[in-house]
Symmetry: C2
Subunit: 171 residues, 2 copies
C-alpha cells in the first residue's frame, strides 16, 4: 500500500476475523517497531508476541478494556524498563509512541488491524508474560484482520480541524 | 513510496539542500500528524510551522544540538499543554511520539528528510513562536531535502538484533 494511503487508512481495530496472521506478517510488523527511532538510539523497548489462545485470553483480563485481545489473532506486548526518573519516563514513552505507530502502519500496509490496550494489573501482566520486575508492560496491541470493513483511506477522520491544530509562522 | 519502503528508508536528516519544501508538501506532513491517534482521541498537540529564515535561525539557538534547524527549509515545532500530573505527561509524550513518527514517515514518502531537536531554553522557544505559558515546545523537527543521499530502504539499520528485541510467547 502507498504510504499516504496507509497513514489515512490506519484506525483502531478491535473486532477481528478468525483468520490467522502469518509468522511472516508478524515479523514485518515487529521489524517496523524494531527500526523505530529513539532518544540517542537507546531502543529501550522489548516486544513480546503472543499467539496462543489461552494466553491471549489471560492477557485480556489485565485491563477492563482489553477484551479484544482475547479475540485477536495475536497480541504484541510492549515492554519498557521501569524508569529511573521522570525524564527517562518521558523519553521512553515518546519513543514507544514512535515504535507503536510504526507497527500499526506496517500492519495497515498488510490489511491487518491493530487495537491498543492499556495494562491495569501490572503484576498479572508480568506473570503471564514472564516479564521481570525490572520492566513493565506499558501497552498491548491486538493484531488481526478487521471483522467490520477493510482498511481504506478515510476522508473525514474524527480529528480537530487542520487550521486549529496547525499554526503558520506563529502561535 | 510503498509503506514498507518508507518505514525502512526513514532516517534522521540534519543536512539539507537549499530546495524549498512546498506548501502542499508541508500540508501533507502536518496532516499526517493531525491524523495520528491519541489517548481517548484528545489530540493534545499543536504544530507551529516555520519557514522564515530569520525565525529558523532564532529557533536554532534554543538547544545546543539544534544547528540544523537554521539550515532547514522548514521547522515544525510540536507543542503540548504543560502537563497537570505525571500520568498526563506520560500519555501526552506517547501520543506525541506517534504524531512525530507519522510526520516523519509522510515526509519520507515525499523524499523529504526530517531531523528532530530537543528544546533547552523553553522561555526563548515560547517567545520566538508566541506560545503561551500554558503550553511548552516539546520538540522541533527540521524539514528539508537531504543534502547527503536520497532516502532509500536500509538493509542494515543500526538497531538491536531482532531476536533480542522480540520475545516469542514469553519473555
Amino acid at each position: 500500500m502507498e504510504t499516504w494511503d496507509a497513514i489515512r487508512a490506519r484506525r483502531n481495530v478491535r473486532a477481528y476475523t478468525a483468520d490467522p496472521v502469518s509468522d511472516e506478517q508478524l515479523h514485518r510488523i515487529l521489524e517496523a517497531g524494531r527500526r523505530a527511532p529513539s532518544a540517542s538510539n537507546r531502543q529501550h523497548w522489548d516486544f513480546v508476541v503472543v499467539t496462543d489462545r489461552t494466553r491471549l485470553a489471560e492477557l485480556a483480563t489485565v485491563w477492563h478494556a482489553a477484551g479484544h485481545i482475547a479475540r485477536a489473532a495475536a497480541a504484541i506486548a510492549l515492554v519498557l524498563p521501569v524508569p529511573g526518573d521522570d525524564r527517562q519516563a518521558v523519553l521512553d514513552q515518546f519513543d514507544l509512541g514512535q515504535a507503536t505507530y510504526a507497527m500499526m502502519l506496517a500492519a495497515t500496509d498488510l490489511g491487518i488491524g491493530t487495537g491498543h490496550s492499556s495494562v491495569g494489573d501490572q503484576a498479572r501482566a508480568r506473570a503471564i508474560l514472564g516479564v521481570p520486575d525490572t520492566h513493565e508492560v506499558a501497552l498491548m496491541l491486538g493484531v488481526g484482520f478487521p471483522a467490520d470493513r477493510p482498511l481504506r483511506p478515510m476522508t473525514k477522520p474524527d480529528r480537530r480541524p487542520f487550521d486549529e491544530v496547525v499554526h503558520l509562522g506563529q502561535w
